[in-house]
């Protein structure tokens, strides 16, 4: 009887710990990603990014509410590759600023093609305690295979930060690597910063290619 009681107490303890862990919402990378994507998709449904003003609204939302959850330094270092180690602190800062702008410009523009497809989160493949977690979701589209989107998330400063998004198998950050490396071997880290700055400056005035909803 005594033994049976200790079992029950033990079980209750385990269940309690489980509940405590589950309610720590900020501690849960899946919930973090879910809340972020819900926020963006809800915005896109009511404010399509099809014209300039729609895009500006999306950029504002991303800057204020989405990017704080991204580890831009880690992302930029992964895009730049080994040459990151040669860059000094000031150069790194500028690289991060330019790369950040490039990503925002590029992907808010690509959001024009979003057409109320549904985003489903897939069962987690990772274990609790993993330092890096892949949160997988898929965009179910009519007439095409679902597009899988993986958010690669890492524990950082007591919370979780996204440092890569893999869309249909293509990494948002590492796919820039050899293109950046080519620029660095041609004209150094400074050259890469200059090219990115030029691209960004030109991107602001470039008219969006014609697409209509």
């Amino acid at each position: 009887m005594r033994k049976w009681l200790t079992h029950v107490v033990g079980w209750l303890g385990a269940v309690w710990v489980g509940i405590a862990a589950a309610t720590g919402a900020a501690e849960d990378p899946v919930r973090m990603v879910q809340q972020l994507s819900d926020r963006v998709l809800a915005h896109l449904r009511t404010h399509p990014a099809s014209d300039e003003s729609g895009r500006a609204a999306l950029v504002a939302l991303v800057e204020q509410e989405v990017l704080p959850y991204f580890d831009m330094v880690r992302m930029t270092s992964l895009a730049v590759g080994p040459a990151w180690r040669q860059a000094d602190a000031a150069q790194r800062e500028r690289l991060v600023a330019e790369f950040r702008q490039l990503l925002v410009r590029t992907y808010t523009n690509a959001a024009r093609s979003y057409r109320d497809e549904r985003l489903e989160f897939l069962p987690q493949r990772s274990n609790p305690g993993d330092p890096v977690v892949r949160v997988a979701a898929r965009l179910v589209r009519s007439g095409g295979e679902p597009l899988e989107i993986q958010y690669v998330v890492e524990r950082r400063d007591g919370g979780w930060r996204i440092f890569d998004v893999v869309i249909g198998g293509v990494s948002l950050v590492t796919s820039y690597r050899s293109s950046f490396a080519a620029e660095i071997s041609r004209s150094g880290v400074e050259g890469l910063i200059r090219t990115l700055a030029e691209k960004n400056a030109r991107g602001e005035v470039e008219p969006a290619p014609g697409i209509r909803h």
Partner: protein, 264 residues
Amino acid sequence: MEGHWLCGRKEKGEGRWWRGGLLAAAVALTGCAALPFAKGEREMPPAAAAMTTSAHPSDPWEQFNRAVFAFNEAVDEGIIRPLAELYDRMLPLPVQRGVSNFFSNLADPWIGVNNLLQGKVGDAFSDWLRFGVNSVFGVFGVFDVASEANLLKHNEDFGQTLARWGVAEGPYVVLPLLGPRTLRDALAWPVDRFGRPVSHLADTSQRWTATAVETVAVRAQLLATDVTTVSAPDRYAFVRDAYLQRRWYLVHDGNPPVMYERFE
């Protein structure tokens, strides 16, 4: 993996049916004989290799590839993209979607065959069921009702089947009009071509019309993503890396082993 196994060395497996075919096709497709690996050296000296490639191990034919890439870009710029933009402007979205769905549906039986060849029997039957459901209830595939019923589309082709059978991907190659491929996928292309119902239309002009409409429809869907590749400093390298990552992912059915380094 070593990029240039095909032109470089003699191996035990060379007698296999696909090796011979591959070799012939590789020469035809890529002008292999003109390339530095053709004379049967096992490997290039490291210094020479460093000079002719920008150190991407999968891209020993970079010079050739860049030339073809530029040609393809010009064709896209001058012909295909304008047509796609016109198509996008003329047809309302539901019509565009119907056209894409129709061609997508025609591809499903062959996707099923490839799943079967890879031993994924369940997926194969799912693809054929999709085809049946969409052809009947989706009015010849114009509506993708199967996806609504959670019979989701798969992405398979003969290149992925070859990968499953152990054929290495070979060097990266950019083909005129067809675009980026790994050598393995370039050689699988005629087989995939054969697997398309459109290729079996008896009437030549119908065959070309169907191919043209499909090409324009696919290109129109990609218009919004153009800006993604424009943003990279070196568009060629960006497209190559994205393509190779995508193939690697598809070959591993969405679970490729990936490691993130730390440079901070």
